[in-house]
Symmetry: C2
Subunit: 198 residues, 2 copies
């Protein structure tokens, strides 16, 4: 039932990731991929639904890995420590896999079932990491969005060389995270003061 097991999906994805991370996501073409795998490009259609299908698979693959490293980063931690490690893991992943990280965001269908599942799991993970701040109702979800914005924004700008200044990037990131966390604590204090007026 499976003749000629030369190529398979993991092999294809591995090669695609390699191209994406070294040459950039836009260099991941069926032609370049086929060449790397020593195969003619139409052969790839037996494993992947064209270029857009490949990109989808790549996006899911990246989201899985990102979720994994984030999960590892927060286990056994809570509060500022958890958020800091989460953040560090996020930017470390984006730095180690620039092309793959790119792929997770230019993911086509937010409709895609797999993508939705992974996105949901990621939100859950971050919500748990933020438990210490006692955010009520939607506030936790807004905070997740905020943290994600900040992490993605930093990673994205770093990758694109958007930071022209000769300034240590790790320091910038640490300060950004510190500022956000300080803000979170302040918001918590304000909420407490609100519910328990003087």
């Amino acid at each position: 039932m499976s003749p000629r097991i030369g190529l398979d999906l993991p092999t294809i994805l591995q090669a695609a990731v390699e191209i994406a991370d070294t040459r950039g996501l836009e260099e991941v073409t069926l032609a370049s991929l086929a060449q790397k795998l020593d195969v003619r490009s139409p052969s790839l259609y037996n494993h992947v639904n064209g270029l857009s299908g490949l990109r989808s698979k790549l996006a899911v693959h990246g989201l899985e890995q990102l979720l994994h490293v984030m999960t590892q980063a927060v286990v056994g931690r809570s509060g500022d420590d958890a958020v800091r490690e989460l953040g560090k893991a996020y930017v470390a992943f984006a730095r180690a896999h620039p092309g793959l990280y790119d792929a997770t965001l230019r993911a086509p269908d937010p409709q895609d079932e797999e993508v939705r599942r992974l996105a949901g799991e990621t939100v859950d993970l971050v919500v748990r990491a933020l438990q210490a701040y006692e955010l009520k109702d939607d506030a936790a979800l807004h905070a997740v969005r905020g943290l994600r914005s900040l992490l993605h924004g930093f990673s994205s700008l770093e990758q694109r060389g958007g930071f022209g200044l000769p300034l240590d990037l790790d320091v910038s990131f640490r300060l950004l995270l510190d500022t956000f966390l300080a803000g979170l604590h302040e918001m918590k204090r304000r909420a407490k003061a609100e519910s328990k007026p003087t």
Copy 2:
């Protein structure tokens, strides 16, 4: 000295912006642009240095507009008010011109003189907007990076539909900005406590 003044750069850029904002930046091709302008694609080479040249021009054009709306947003304001208006103007621009905003970031050469100039001016503007927080030395520049990360991250994720949750985006953004500002104030307090110990 200028025969056949049919096409010119502003006209071309306007058409390109229109395609970018309605169909997405990747749909801005010499072919689609030529069709929209009722011209053959090689004719565009008389005004623009190929597709990459067009993208550069588009990036500069977008950066100019973005800097302009940001400048308008902060004039006559200071402190939290200035930062809040700056942030609102930023995301409003990204929402109104998704394709053009995209172009400002996938700008090729950070080496480009025009790009560097605009980037520098933008940094200066934001530094001035942050004056009220009395950030010392590099701290102001780190804060600029942080604010930009947060603004870009939010805009980028919003555009890509990366926020799957059914939650008001404006509220998320306001809270994110509030949290960042609260953090900035807290950092200022800590710095004061440091320099003037008990």
